[in-house]
């Protein structure tokens, strides 16, 4: 039950895009067509679900204050390598993206071609690094970080697919020239984020 509640909270109440503004760049750039946004959403789910638990391992067994105690070497047992976590996390993310890319290329070539350039660009998507950093800041355990990773990715996918659907609807609307494109998308996102705020207070 605790995990369901965490998932609902991460998807709806603290949506990674609409409440924390993470991954805005690809959210705005790739939401013109429903198909691409769906593919990107899937890729983000995959990568977040893998990287958050993996970074949890690295944080807990290598970087945290006293994390190296399991080696049994006295000199290592009170070493604090927390300052390295940004560099380690980004390396893990870059290699996971590479791995996902290779697996998709080998086993799901259709999905791979439809994702195209977006897959490598996920490395610099702030929602991925943000997911791992939130995991550290909120002290999740292994199961919690797996659930958190998946639902943060799901929240991103949900938001980007709905935004692209809305953008498709307004394609032929008359929008003042200065507001066309980015400006209007910003305001739409604002309205969507307002709608998502209605979920606040749901408590399972």
């Amino acid at each position: 039950m605790h995990y369901i509640s965490l998932a609902v909270e991460t998807i709806f109440i603290n949506n990674i895009v609409l409440a924390y503004f993470l991954g805005m760049c690809s959210f705005l750039a790739c939401s013109k067509k429903v198909e691409t946004s769906f593919g990107l959403g899937l890729a983000v789910i995959c990568v977040l679900t893998l990287t958050v638990p993996f970074n949890w391992f690295i944080e807990t067994y290598f970087l945290r204050d006293g994390a190296l105690a399991w080696t049994g070497i006295a000199a290592l047992s009170n070493l604090d390598l927390t300052f390295l976590n940004l560099i380690c996390f980004i390396a893990v993310i870059a290699s996971t993206v590479q791995l996902v890319e290779m697996v998709l290329d080998r086993f799901f070539p259709r999905l791979y071609t439809s994702l195209g350039i977006f897959l490598p660009l996920i490395t610099v998507n702030c929602s991925i690094l943000g997911g791992s950093l939130f995991m550290v800041e909120r002290h999740y355990d292994l199961a919690e970080s797996a659930v958190f990773g998946f639902s943060a990715g799901f929240g991103f996918a949900l938001a980007i697919v709905s935004l692209s659907a809305v953008r498709k609807k307004i394609r032929y609307s008359q929008i003042p020239p200065g507001l066309q494109g980015l400006g209007m998308t910003m305001i739409l996102t604002g309205l969507m984020s307002m709608a998502f705020m209605c979920f606040a207070g749901i408590d399972l």
């Binding site: 940004l86 980004i90 490395t123 610099v124």
Partner: protein
């Protein structure tokens, strides 16, 4: 206008990183509840962007093309660690408020974007100017968004009360939707004033 001056002035309005190039939106929205936070973030980004541009441009002939992304991201990440640790050591309260967003400068597309688009092809001098120009363009916009949000949200500016005590404060401006709406309006005004109607 000289070519050098143009490198600096271009990103201020005609090619602004946030409103025209659509880069670095995440932090522009997340840390703009108060002008003070936005100011610190602007300083941090200016430092990271300018130094990463210069370093990458100095190394541009040494970095092998195939692995340049990894090299660039490690240079940027090291600079960000530097900023993050400094903030934590000397301005702990501020660094707690900025939470993970200082660390997220690593994945801020402006830094990576300028490294790829400019620093890898130009000598250090112009790269320095390009870094500065883009940081100023970014800072101006986030300070504007923060000004709007802080005045509407709590009636203060940089902690100084500007609206009468009776002003209740509009909760919406402090929350996420307010940030989206205010940035949307700023983009609208900026594109109308400069007549730059780019449909993206």
């Amino acid at each position: 206008m000289g070519a050098r001056t143009k490198i600096i002035t271009d990103p201020l309005s005609d090619n602004n990183p946030i409103t025209i190039q659509v880069l670095g939106i995440c932090s522009a929205l997340a840390i703009t509840v108060q002008v003070e936070n936005a100011f610190v973030m602007a300083c941090a980004l200016t430092f990271v962007l300018t130094s990463s541009n210069v370093i990458i441009s100095l190394l541009r002939k040494q970095i092998p093309g195939r692995i340049r992304m990894i090299v660039e991201i490690s240079i940027i990440a090291s600079l960000v660690v530097l900023v993050d640790q400094t903030l934590r050591a000397f301005f702990f309260e501020l660094s707690r408020q900025l939470s993970i967003f200082v660390a997220l400068i690593i994945t801020n597309c402006i830094v990576m974007g300028r490294a790829e688009a400019f620093a890898t092809q130009n000598p250090p001098g112009p790269s320095l100017l390009d870094g500065l120009g883009n940081s100023i363009g970014y800072s101006v916009i986030i300070l504007l968004v923060a000004t709007g949000r802080e005045i509407l949200g709590s009636g203060t500016w940089y902690g100084i009360r500007v609206l009468p005590e009776a002003y209740m404060g509009n909760g919406l401006a402090v929350l996420a939707p307010g940030a989206f709406l205010i940035l949307g309006v700023i983009i609208w005004i900026q594109r109308t004033v400069t007549n730059n109607f780019k449909d993206d």
